[in-house]
């Protein structure tokens, strides 16, 4: 779960990481009022759950109420990388003396938390990592020990920032506290700013919460709602299914993330373009399969569907029953061609049931993938 800037900053405020004063606004009028309350200059910042908004025109610095209103009306409702901007953060301008980068993240490779610092903040850190890797310094942390002052000395002292270590440690240790208490995968400040008056402020904020921790991370419902998770994903989540929207026209349903990914790969290899990733998980019930098939059929532009099941705990009869339920809802038909491949646990019985339905069956994954691509172009044989 990637938080919006103002959401992340709300968590920053709770642990005492200094941030500029800001007011969230959802209309140009609100933004104008907020701006005049704060005094000028102010920054008007699009609230989107990913980076790169600066380049995309999502941040404007303005000097008057009128300019604030017009900037907000430009940004609000605009589309940034497919995300419709629903709110802006109106934030007091900060006189920047220096910009740094500070983050704490899960290092998957080393399997420990890592603290990352760069004396060059406010830029695309991925790009910086490619162009000037020596400007990014990091230290592995021990989850048992956490962040200690010497880690920050190791990061700052060699680049001549020794006099900032105590101020940065204070912020970094609060970030670490947040990282741990909120089950974060990433907490990032880019830029971390030294102001002209010498104080250190988090100008931006990025925070990713581990989805697996949602059962113990309370009070995030409002954040989640604001994040506007697509309807299909929400519906799938409620059924215990894992749905990811893709850009193509062939619906793909399978059991197990790896197998669904492999199925997507084979559809692509066959020249098709998958419309989604839908994993019904282990031991799916007929109801779950029906629900998943309904979601995929409900997505606009889907021309054909491939259902690929290798029964382990999942029973193929159950899957066939799930398909059958949807066929019944459509009065004995299906709106687009559906190719089914069943193997493993209950395959024989499942295939018998499937062959009585308006679907095509294929014995292997390769053949099924090829067939679904073919029928997505022709409309199928049934």
């Amino acid at each position: 779960m990637d938080l919006l800037e103002h959401q992340a900053k709300q968590l920053f405020r709770e642990v005492g990481v200094p941030i500029p004063i800001g007011i969230l606004s959802t209309s140009p009028t609100e933004a104008a009022t907020a701006a005049s309350t704060l005094g000028f200059p102010v920054a008007i910042k699009a609230q989107i759950p990913f980076g790169g908004r600066g380049k995309a025109g999502g941040i404007k610095i303005v000097d008057s109420t009128e300019a604030a209103e017009s900037a907000a009306s430009e940004i609000l409702g605009s589309d940034i990388k497919g995300f419709s901007v629903g709110s802006v953060l109106v934030e007091s301008g900060v006189k920047i003396a220096e910009e740094f980068y500070l983050a704490i993240m899960v290092d998957r490779g080393a399997k420990v938390p890592r603290v990352v610092f760069s004396e060059q903040g406010g830029v695309d850190i991925e790009l910086l990592a490619l162009t000037s890797p020596d400007m990014i310094r990091s230290v592995e942390l021990d989850a048992f020990v956490g962040l200690r002052p010497y880690h920050i000395h190791q990061l700052l002292d060699p680049v001549g920032l020794a006099e900032l270590t105590s101020a940065v440690f204070k912020i970094a240790s609060r970030l670490y506290e947040l990282f741990v208490s909120r089950d974060c995968l990433l907490v990032e400040i880019n830029p971390l700013v030294k102001t002209e008056s010498g104080t250190i402020v988090a100008l931006d904020a990025k925070l990713t919460i581990d989805d697996n921790s949602r059962y113990r991370q309370h009070g995030l419902e409002a954040f989640e709602e604001e994040l506007k998770i697509p309807q299909a994903e929400l519906a799938a989540g409620e059924l215990g299914l894992n749905y990811v929207h893709l850009e193509g026209d062939i619906g793909v349903i399978g059991n197990g993330a790896g197998l669904v990914m492999a199925t997507l790969d084979l559809v692509s290899d066959a020249g098709g373009d998958p419309a989604n990733f839908l994993d019904v998980g282990g031991g799916a019930s007929a109801a779950q399969v029906s629900g998943g098939l309904r979601i995929v059929l409900g997505e606009p532009g889907v021309k054909a569907v491939l259902i690929n099941i290798f029964g382990g705990i999942t029973r193929c009869e159950e899957v066939a029953q799930g398909i059958s339920n949807v066929v019944d809802e459509h009065n004995g038909t299906l709106p687009v061609p559906v190719v089914v491949r069943l193997a493993g646990n209950g395959a024989e019985e499942g295939l018998k049931m499937a062959n009585a339905l308006p679907v095509e069956t294929r014995p292997t994954l390769e053949e099924a993938a090829k067939r679904v691509v073919a029928v997505s172009e022709t409309g199928g044989s049934k």
Partner: protein
């Protein structure tokens, strides 16, 4: 011989009295696995599917001589179950999915100190067809004894591939599903090291997917330390960046961990990479000679 477990391995089921635990305990027993009891705190002294239930792992181990456990408890209790198991056992298989990354950072740190092998979480388990040991949730019917070690981040994709191997007459020595989580208890490297010292294993299939760099690190490791042929399958060539594909670990982020980049690294180390089940069967047949 085999990897992590053998014919003498006695297994307890943590969460035996739950739906999953009791179902798979029966299934494992039917496969020939020596399941000797289960643990459910507060239900000690009762019986479940004919097995004694204990309050604590410590007691279960003391009274049954188990050396391995398989965990079926819900995600919020998995961390505790792993820690408790690691106090008393040598091999721990955690089937539970949805374990927070923070819990696993700490658990992995601890089990490494204790020289415990943890497989999972979010994994299908371990199967050794020759020793008739099946710990976890993998369907017994698809396996047959043979020379190929299989290690995989995926569940059903593994079944698909193992099934194809078996149909083609290529048996398996041990199959380890290490699970798709970002921080697994056992990594590819650790599994490859185990296969290297297993006499029954003549070649190894590594089934990887997008995300992380464990496949790349395993390739480096194999180039230096694995004397047996290794072939790989990578899932997720068609996955777009920034989308998480089911597994918490299966995400291409920041341009890293793509299937193409993994393939390139593996091939640079001389490891053939397939992207279809047919392809991987062909590849392993060719290295088996």
């Amino acid at each position: 011989m085999s990897v992590l477990v053998d014919a003498s391995t006695k297994v307890i089921v943590q969460g035996l009295t739950g739906h999953e635990g009791s179902f798979h305990a029966q299934r494992m027993i039917a496969c020939g696995t020596q399941v000797v009891g289960g643990v459910t705190p507060g239900k000690g002294g009762t019986e479940e599917v004919g097995l004694p239930v204990f309050d604590t792992v410590e007691e279960a181990v003391r009274k049954t001589g188990a050396s391995a456990s398989v965990i079926f408890v819900p995600a919020p209790f998995a961390y505790d179950a792993i820690l408790e198991a690691s106090d008393s056992l040598q091999t721990v298989v955690c089937v539970t999915e949805g374990v927070p990354v923070k819990d696993m950072m700490i658990a992995r740190r601890l089990i490494h100190q204790k020289k415990v092998s943890l497989v999972g979480p979010n994994c299908p388990g371990i199967v050794c067809p020759k020793a008739k040991v099946n710990i976890g949730i993998m369907p017994e019917s698809i396996f047959t004894p043979g020379p190929v070690g299989v290690v995989s981040r995926s569940g059903t994709l593994t079944y698909e591939i193992v099934n194809d191997l078996t149909l083609e007459g290529i048996g398996q020595s041990t199959c380890i599903g290490i699970g798709g989580d970002p921080i697994p208890g056992t990594t590819f490297i650790e599994a490859l090291a185990a296969f290297e010292s297993d006499d029954d294993t003549k070649a190894v299939i590594m089934i990887g997917e997008i995300g992380g760099d464990e496949e790349e690190k395993a390739a480096e490791f194999a180039a230096e330390n694995l004397s047996k042929p290794l072939v790989a399958y990578i899932a997720g060539f068609s996955a777009p960046p920034g989308k998480k594909m089911g597994h918490a670990g299966a995400i291409v982020s920041q341009g890293k961990g793509t299937a193409a980049s993994k393939k390139a690294v593996l091939e640079s180390k001389g490891i053939p990479v397939a992207s279809t089940p047919v392809g991987i069967v062909k590849a392993v047949r060719s290295v088996l000679g």
